[in-house]
């Protein structure tokens, strides 16, 4: 885990490799808010999955910024962002797990 001091809060950088039907790799930066919630600063999602239209992924990554890291929260946000898209190789549940797996900073299967 890499800890960087940015502005007046600590931004942590972590990653995870998650195997579902396809492989999802997540690079996550997050920081704690005043209440101690973990908030996404940025997220990059890569993998050998399919997503239509392809631009949905970049949009999702932008929309996830500022999202609190919690299962239900993430799942709802992903469902909303990918509402008009079609994914093969992951769903909102597995993608949420892949992102949250970063917090454990280990390879998750």
């Amino acid at each position: 885990m890499q800890i960087q001091k940015e502005r007046y809060s600590l931004v942590r950088t972590v990653c995870n490799i998650y195997k579902t039907k396809k492989l999802i790799k997540v690079f996550l930066k997050y920081e704690d808010d005043k209440e101690g919630n973990k908030i996404i600063s940025s997220v990059r999602i890569t993998g050998d999955f399919f997503l239509y239209p392809e631009e949905s992924l970049e949009n999702l990554e932008v929309q996830l910024k500022g999202t609190r890291l919690g299962k239900d929260n993430l799942k709802k946000k992903i469902d909303k962002c990918l509402n008009n898209s079609e994914a093969f190789g992951f769903d909102s549940e597995s993608l949420s797990d892949a992102i949250l797996g970063c917090l454990h900073n280990q390879i998750t299967k």
Partner: protein
């Protein structure tokens, strides 16, 4: 469809191959569908649209071996293109349902393999297996109501070479991963020309269409050269993720 335009564009570089696919998507318009058959020279690694080049590929090793590296506009995984036939099918008419469209366009590939004597099966979403071993991977994109599906048909496979240039999630597991892949992937041990000939016949029969051989048009070549130079050869594109 009554006709399919056949382009046999020989063995070209990774950058040109991907550039020509995109150029044909922008020029096909209301014209008849295109079946393009080609190979890769020098051999190359292509990664899926959603992959990271640095994560997936040993770029230094590829440079040392003279292997080109390119990002595709389609999703899916990293592929070493060496002893294979690659096809692209570009069309304006296709099923809206993505799974159905994969199955539809993979059907002539399955037919081709069966006519060559193999027990081939479509394996959703995008693979074709022979006796439960993968011989073909396919990937699709849709832009401006035009569909491109391209795929590989393995003629032979060097799994050790593949993993010498592709990164694996766990170095500890590398030997096991290589053994697993060797057990699950196979090449047809047929020549490029044999497969190419049968593939054209299969597309013709499947879609009830007359194949007519054609050459790349000047405007298509110009468009391809632009995409080759400014997109597929560029670090901005290849290192996008």
């Amino acid at each position: 469809m009554n006709k399919i335009r056949l382009l046999e564009t020989e063995h070209r570089s990774a950058y040109y191959n991907m550039a020509l696919d995109q150029a044909l998507m922008s020029t096909v318009g209301d014209s008849i569908p295109i079946l393009r058959i080609y190979g890769w020279k020098p051999c190359a690694v292509s990664i899926g649209y959603f992959q990271s080049l640095k994560e997936e590929v040993d770029i230094k090793k590829c440079k040392k071996l003279g292997i080109d590296v390119v990002r595709r506009i389609t999703g899916g995984g990293a592929v070493l293109h060496e002893h294979e036939l690659t096809y692209s099918f570009i069309t304006k008419g296709y099923p809206a349902n993505i799974m159905e469209s994969y199955e539809l366009i993979c059907e002539p590939v399955v037919m081709c393999l069966r006519n060559l004597g193999f027990n081939a099966q479509f394996s959703p979403l995008n693979d074709i297996d022979v006796d439960n071993k993968k011989v073909s991977g396919n990937a699709q994109t849709r832009r401006n109501n035009i569909l491109l599906q391209h795929g590989t048909i393995l003629l032979d496979v060097d799994v050790d070479k593949m993993f010498s240039v592709l990164n694996v999630p766990s170095e500890k597991m590398k030997d096991k991963i290589i053994q697993d892949v060797k057990a699950r992937v196979m090449g047809l041990k047929k020549t490029f020309d044999e497969v190419a000939s049968e593939l054209q016949e299969s597309f013709s029969r499947k879609f009830g269409a007359e194949i007519f051989r054609d050459d790349i048009k000047t405007d298509e070549e110009i468009e391809a050269k632009i995409f080759q130079k400014y997109k597929y050869s560029s670090d901005d594109w290849n290192y996008k993720r």
